[in-house]
Symmetry: C2
Subunit: 136 residues, 2 copies
């Protein structure tokens, strides 16, 4: 799809990729550690994929969840595949903290409080990348 931003994949900070999908760093200071898993092919819904490909994509999502938890020690992980704006399968892996701007609401809800200046280690991205253990 020439007009799909996830097909164009410009300006992505890729932590890992293979021929099937990629893991990118989402640079959002409100949720340090936020990553996205993006299917390379332009497919609309998870159930448009064969079962084996669904399993593989979720295996990558959970590998990302594990690395993000290990490095950022969040109070909760949020996982979501929405795609209303960009109908190309992708998963949000979002670390949440009880004092983050939206907690306990989803990150798309109105803010609950002023954004807290969270401590963000400078090598967070590199540490998550180093800890990513994606099965063969």
């Amino acid at each position: 799809m020439t007009d799909c931003p996830l097909c164009a994949c410009a300006d992505e900070a890729v932590l890992w990729r293979d021929g099937f999908c990629r893991v990118i760093w989402v640079d959002d200071a409100r949720y340090p550690g936020f990553c996205r898993v993006i299917l390379n092919a332009h497919v609309r819904e998870m159930t448009d994929l064969p079962a084996e490909q669904r399993r593989r994509l979720m295996e990558v999502v959970f590998a990302v969840e594990a690395a993000v938890r290990e490095v950022t020690r969040p109070d909760k992980i949020n996982l979501a595949s929405l795609g209303n704006v960009v109908p190309h399968v992708h998963w949000h892996v979002i670390p949440r903290w009880v004092d983050d701007v939206n907690f306990p609401e989803p990150i798309w809800a109105p803010a609950q409080r002023a954004a807290m200046p969270r401590v963000v280690e400078t090598d967070l991205k590199a540490r998550i990348q180093a800890l990513l253990q994606i099965p063969e």
Copy 2:
């Protein structure tokens, strides 16, 4: 957990269940077809489950997605596991339409428009239940 509403599982409209998880009907007129898949055990994160149990839970989630798509023909499916309020693994399977109250924003975002009186067939719940094909 005695104080967890998903452990208490009171007042749930159960479409399917086994010893591992259950599928419930979410009675939300804005998103007719909205279902939830709830792990029976009180577990906080997907990566707190062994890989085989993660695979099984997602297999059920995708079976629900398939039935909801077949019956409601939505413009998009949204999947989410958040659990900020109730940290007990559960998945939202939400059919979306371009003219629904929040589209294209997530359902937790501020409304984009007045709720449309969507046509809701009286047997929607029974049809989704009948079409649920959850692998052994």
